[in-house]
């Protein structure tokens, strides 16, 4: 149905099913990115302030401070096209043409060292890219993953007195006040 086609924008991540015709270069993407994305995501994808970062973070997933980006965390490249097309730039969703989305997708992949500077990207090219964290996901939910006696203890359950391990909340000063703004 013709009417459905306008809304039928989903692209499947693992095989790129639904990717539209079109193409764009890293170079073209850089221009779009600098004018329409960098204000939030940073000139190099590093993320301004608390806006999301779009590159880097490789090797941090097992660290104390994991940085989850397209390069370090995402499993599938076509998902990037899908997401940018459906909702970026943040303040003007669906304002880019398919060619522009290919271009800026190419540029973000380039920022993550996944495409050379002179590359051009189309559906076939995007499907061919294998992201570093491709095998980083477990699709089976292993929960419940904590064990307790089916009849939990009711009396004298502790072996040692309770020890406070964290009581900063009171003093941190990050909790909003109860007084509403006017």
């Amino acid at each position: 149905m013709a009417q459905i086609q306008g809304w039928d924008i989903d692209v499947r991540g693992d095989d790129g099913l639904g990717l539209p015709p079109g193409k764009g270069t890293v170079k073209q993407g850089e221009e779009i990115y600098l004018s329409q994305c960098a204000s939030c995501h940073g000139e190099f994808g590093e993320g301004n302030g608390r806006w999301p970062e779009l590159m880097g973070g490789n090797g941090t997933l097992t660290s104390d401070d994991p940085r989850k980006t397209v390069g370090s965390y995402w499993p599938y490249a076509p998902t990037l096209f899908d997401y940018v097309r459906r909702t970026m730039p943040f303040t003007a969703p669906q304002s880019l043409s398919n060619d522009e989305v290919y271009a800026v997708t190419a540029y973000i992949l380039h920022l993550n060292d996944l495409l050379p500077a002179d590359a051009e990207l189309d559906a076939a090219g995007l499907k061919a890219i294998r992201l570093p964290n491709r095998d980083g996901f477990i699709a089976e939910d292993p929960r419940p993953d904590t064990k307790s006696a089916s009849e939990p203890c009711m009396r004298g359950c502790r072996t040692a007195p309770p020890r406070i391990t964290s009581d900063l909340a009171e003093r941190l000063g990050v909790t909003p006040t109860r007084t509403p703004k006017d």
């Binding site: 039928d8 998902t79 996901f137 509403p180």
Partner: protein, 401 residues
Amino acid sequence: TAGLLHPRLALAKGGENLPPNVPEWTRMLGAGVSEKPYGNPSPFEKHVVRRNVEWLTATEQSSVSFTPLPDLEGIVTPSGLCFERHHAGVPEIDPQQHRLIIHGMVDRPLIFTMDDLVRFPSVSRILFLECPANGGMEWKGAQMNGCQFTHGMVHCCEWTGVKLSTLLAEAGVRPEAKWMLVEGADGAVMTRSIPLAKAMDDCIVCYAQNGERIRPEQGYPVRLMVPGWEGNVNVKWLRRIKLGDRPWQHREETSKYTDLMPDGKARQFTFVLDANSVVTFPCPEKPLKFGKGFYEIRGLAWSGRGRIKRVDVSLDGGDNWQSAQLQEPVLSQALTRFRLPWTWDGAPALVQSRAIDESGYVQPTIDQLRAVRGVNSIYHKNAQQTWRVNPDGTVNNVQIL
């Protein structure tokens, strides 16, 4: 129970509106019946509002505001106070111009108007809805000194709509279909993949919330309810459902809403909300402000796996537990109110609650959770909460071992 409180029953002293005086509002007429065709809370309840945490997000359009749980009683959340979570702000949708498309692996792709949806056989259920990031700020330690912020990404309303299975039957599900993609009409055009078995079981395409049409923040004019499953899959402003043979691996089920484990692998499609609970009185916002004596401990428990079977409360950091009374009727996949009488002796206390659901699942401690999942998985933090009651009656958020 005579003598429960009378040592400190307030005797009125002074004040022109206190007995023996007749208060001003008794000596005049109030507002008439047509003054508020749609009513609002008393101006004296201005502090009972959703609150956001400004430092948490870069923008208020992709952000969260929290249900004021400590101010609420019973199990129903008033629609105006249901926490908000959205990714591109709240769209203002004209219901006359909204459409729901069902297509993909179906015999007959269909486009529904709101009138169509309302015309179908309907069902209503009282259901909780929880963001899986509820409590997510507390993985590494006690951070937020308020129950609204540690647990307020949950609400419970009566939802009405048409069973998704009814709509899918209209479209005719093809045998190869195993998953569906659900998509919102907001600027995020939010998508999630959901197994078709769940869709056919109990999902509801909802147009009403607590009797009236759904509120804008909750998906007006139509949203999906996926009972017991993480909030994000309950897609709001629902515009499209596509059937397929496997998940779509979209951004919200890869980059987000996946749970990073200590080994660097991330769990995906962790849909069910495990049993959770919290004491809403006392809590940091609601101290014991009358000194020693009688108080009723009140709290909420819920489980995506069905009914809450029991809630135990400890006052000594988990050494001893008492089972609380559960408000009847206890409904499956709904908030459950628990209550326990307590005579406070003025000594410091460590108040905790532990929910057990009908599947036999026992709400874990924070260290049980951390032992398996570390501290970087963001989502599904359903650990027992500890409130420290201080001798002056104030209450703080702490974690204990």
